[in-house]
């Protein structure tokens, strides 16, 4: 999958699983930061990241290794799309 397709899928997950407003999701871009506490971010906290990880596993058929610290991949849509695209290619 190319990163733009991944972004669209992630936006769908944000609406259906994380309960974001669809109009808000539509405005999100690759540059949008994810974690709470980062300026301009969409404010995801630990609970959101668990839900998001599970949704990504289910939607993209990849497995997240819990023993690894994956925080760097969840900084923005850019890093997350890259992570997902690389994992789906590998899988």
């Amino acid at each position: 999958m190319d990163p733009k397709e991944v972004l669209d899928e992630l936006k769908t997950i944000l609406v259906t699983r994380l309960k974001f407003d669809p109009r808000r999701a539509a405005d999100m871009t690759f540059e949008t930061a994810l974690p709470k506490g980062v300026e301009g971010s969409i404010g995801l906290d630990s609970l959101d990241f668990i839900e998001l990880s599970i949704a990504i596993e289910e939607r993209f058929g990849i497995v997240m290794d819990e023993s690894q610290d994956l925080a760097e991949h969840f900084q923005s849509f850019d890093t997350l799309c890259g992570f997902v695209a690389a994992r789906t290619e590998a899988a």
């Binding site: 259906t16 699983r17 994380l18 309960k19 407003d21 404010g43 609970l47 668990i50 839900e51």
Partner: protein, 263 residues
């Protein structure tokens, strides 16, 4: 001062905002409807995107209270405000959604706990004082109001919010099975009383019969379970009586009473 008094009460029900919106006769006004659902509270932004309906109602009740009391949220923020929450079954809809996989699991599971409603209220208003959560109907609310007076008397807080929330719509079919438990109309409600140090002495004891206010709240509001004693308080105040009152509440065979008297 070791007594207490009720400073204000905020009420939201399926009949509308505040006690003045209650019809003269709930059964007649219901016109055969079993459940009177409350209008969804105003969309409160992304902060509440995960919160359940009952959490939003809890917040709405506190907002109604602040309006009634002409107070801003800073008046209750901090560790000097106790939060006592009572419900018979507001956790029902979130539990059902989780059991039947209607709601996605990770985000939803913490909201199945009865503690979710006071948690969202505590987060919204910055409440970090004492915390009690009681499960039961109107009798449990009497227990909760009495707990509030104790917390004040022991100096563990400067004010106490006694909050009750009940929802029925998502579990209407289940409530229909328990016809012997509740008398329709089931009226979704959220209510919050502000109890502060004052001159009234509170006596807590079993009550042999419903107080006039208990009967009035039932007649005007319908079946509101844990919200009933707080709605009763609001009705008394709406009629111009903000003085010490006798409150009773019944749930499944136990009727508790809290008699406030001028000291």
């Amino acid at each position: 001062m070791t007594g207490s008094e009720v400073a204000a009460v905020g009420v939201v029900t399926g009949w509308g905002q505040s006690a003045v919106a209650l019809p003269p006769d709930a059964v007649r006004a219901a016109a055969g409807r079993r459940v009177i659902a409350v209008e969804p509270p105003r969309a409160a932004g992304e902060r509440f995107r995960r919160a359940t309906r009952e959490c939003l109602l809890g917040v709405a009740a506190v907002e109604a209270l602040l309006r009634e009391a002409s107070l801003g949220p800073e008046a209750i923020r901090g560790d000097e405000t106790a939060l006592v929450y009572v419900t018979a079954a507001a956790y029902g809809s979130s539990n059902r959604a989780f059991i039947q996989a209607i709601a996605s699991s990770t985000l939803h599971f913490p909201y199945t706990a009865p503690s979710a409603v006071p948690a969202e209220v505590a987060i919204e208003f910055g409440l970090t004082g004492p915390y009690v959560i009681l499960i039961g109907g109107a009798a449990a609310t009497i227990d909760g109001l009495w707990q509030a007076t104790l917390l004040l008397r022991r100096g563990q807080c400067r004010r106490a919010l006694v909050l009750a929330v009940e929802t029925f719509a998502e579990c209407e079919d289940l409530w229909a099975r328990g016809r012997w438990l509740v008398r329709p109309p089931l009226v979704e409600s959220a209510a919050c009383a502000l109890v502060v140090p004052g001159p009234w002495r509170a006596t807590y004891a079993p009550a042999p019969a419903p107080s006039p206010l208990e009967a009035l709240a039932r007649a005007r509001a319908g079946e509101t379970l844990a919200c009933a004693p707080l709605i009763a308080l609001a009705l008394a105040r709406a009629a111009g009586d903000a003085g010490p009152v006798m409150l009773t509440g019944e749930w499944r065979g136990r009727r508790a009473g809290l008699a406030w008297e001028a000291h």
